[in-house]
Symmetry: C2
Subunit: 200 residues, 2 copies
Amino acid sequence: MFLSPLVSELVEALRVLPGVGPKSAQRMALHLLERNRSGGARLADVLVRAMEHVRECSDCQNLTEQARCHICESPARDHGLLCIVENPVDLLAIESSGSFRGVYFVLKGHLSPLDGIGPKELGIPRLLERVRAGEIREMILATNPTVEGEATAHYLRESLRDQTALIVTRIAHGVPMGGELEFVDGNTLAHALAGRTSVG
Amino acid sequence: MFLSPLVSELVEALRVLPGVGPKSAQRMALHLLERNRSGGARLADVLVRAMEHVRECSDCQNLTEQARCHICESPARDHGLLCIVENPVDLLAIESSGSFRGVYFVLKGHLSPLDGIGPKELGIPRLLERVRAGEIREMILATNPTVEGEATAHYLRESLRDQTALIVTRIAHGVPMGGELEFVDGNTLAHALAGRTSVG
């Protein structure tokens, strides 16, 4: 390398960020050193605090620096309506839509036996316990419509067959709003047709 | 925002990096928190050290944590051959080509009177002093072939008219290797024709 050891080390360290290759890391390092040292120092400070203090919400496993996250703590949310998502980004996507007032449970992944990820790794025993305690009226399965996401949703549904009072729903699959039928894949169209609703 | 305050703060802090918008910053923050806390902590540590200790080489203004950079320190380099570049990235580009064994002077910009960037801001007085001391045999002007880069090169050339023993050269402009004439702009072609060399 043609950079000084410490600058090289910074370039290397920046590559832990997703989507950052050697060229981008070099550009980032030089930008911080030449134009924004205070921004770099602030980033370092926030990184230290975040890596130390951010943990899982004891109720929903979402990322938070409190014992319980602001959604689980909020009295304005419907705590009887529980939405199961795979990842914090999925939670963010649903929150951004502004159309859900219940609470969440973040699995942080999906069942994947080959990778050694079973129900325990996803916190499912804790989730089942919470549902069985009886406070949940409806559980919405919002795992991704992939093979693994469907399998995880199926597992959760089957695990709670004994809860006869519990309503278990799955988010609708169909043609995305603003999309054109021409460009929608056959599998999605099949789901859209099977899940058709009356308009009259 | 739907993220906890500390996570939001991390997303915001990551946006100091060039080319990182709100979506990428969010992805980076969640990636570090969920999958690579040790990488995040190491990045914070290196950032702190780099922002504190990296400074300018006293000879060439390149970034280094030493008083003089490894190129200026090296006895293997030709200290009579001085290449003037605008930025550390330009130095890296030339070093990567492996075709230069002299030393550098990094201006860290170009003359831009409207932005208040004059010779003093670029360290040009120090450069002129060094050249006048008589150790430099040849000065290669490798500023960018832009209006500002050309003006900066012109200013340096004119400032050293009195140094009759000094050879001042400009890097060649022409058709890039591997390029096709068809796609080269007219200005570059004009330079390529004017700078033609004998092949016989």
